[in-house]
């Protein structure tokens, strides 16, 4: 099964934000650490609401966090 066509830069952004842990980000976005893990491994394509929450956690626009691979 191929992965979703949306990639992200969550791991890089976490390290750029004072080396935020996966658990920290998960708590801020109201998800589990396993969901953040799946996102970083490109095994999960989030809903729009979660994508916006993650972008808000990094204080970045959505396009800087997620990339659509056509």
């Amino acid at each position: 099964m191929s992965g979703p066509p949306i990639t992200n830069h969550i791991r890089r952004l976490r390290f750029e934000h004072d080396e935020m842990t996966q658990q920290d980000l998960a708590t801020r976005c109201d998800v589990t650490r396993q969901t953040i893990l799946a996102l970083e491994a490109n095994r999960y394509s989030p809903s729009l609401a979660l994508a916006f929450r993650i972008a808000q956690a990094f204080n970045k626009p959505l396009e800087e966090v997620f990339t659509w691979e056509s």
């Binding site: 998800v31 650490r33 396993q34 969901t35």
Partner: protein, 135 residues
């Protein structure tokens, strides 16, 4: 490992334990005593306490939804298959009757099937690519 995966492993173990215990008792003692194996379902009631699942997480909800779907379909197919098997094996008998005691066995078997398939599906989906926009 997430609580959802731990819960799935636990439920899978309980389901297998019930199935193995029932079959063992049925082969070694008799069918009436074998139904005592279904008391082990009580172990499954501990699952929410032992492994509380974070239901607010959308990925967890997605996996739970798909696993419930697969479990329900498997359980339904089990009931259909068993009923057809019973009919096929008994309709030529004289008289063509079916023991009423088989009904709770079918119901419990469907529950075990639901547990096993649902748990296995959770464990498989936890490592598969998922898309929230395609539930």
């Amino acid at each position: 490992m997430s609580n959802q995966q731990k819960s799935a492993w636990y439920t899978l173990a309980v389901g297998l334990l019930i199935a193995v215990t029932y079959l063992t008792l049925r082969m070694t003692v008799n069918g009436a005593v074998a139904t005592a194996a279904f008391a082990l379902f009580a172990l499954a009631a501990l699952t929410p306490s032992l492994f509380p699942i974070e239901s607010r997480d959308e990925r967890v909800r997605l996996i739970t939804h798909r696993a419930s779907l697969f479990g329900g379909v498997a359980s339904y197919l089990f009931v259909v298959a068993i009923c057809m098997l019973v009919w096929w094996s008994r309709f030529r008998a004289t008289p063509p009757t079916v023991d009423v005691n088989i009904l709770p066995i079918i119901a419990m078997g469907a529950c075990v099937t639901l547990m096993l398939v649902q748990s296995a599906t959770v464990l498989v989906l936890a490592n598969q690519p998922l898309d929230a926009s395609n539930p």
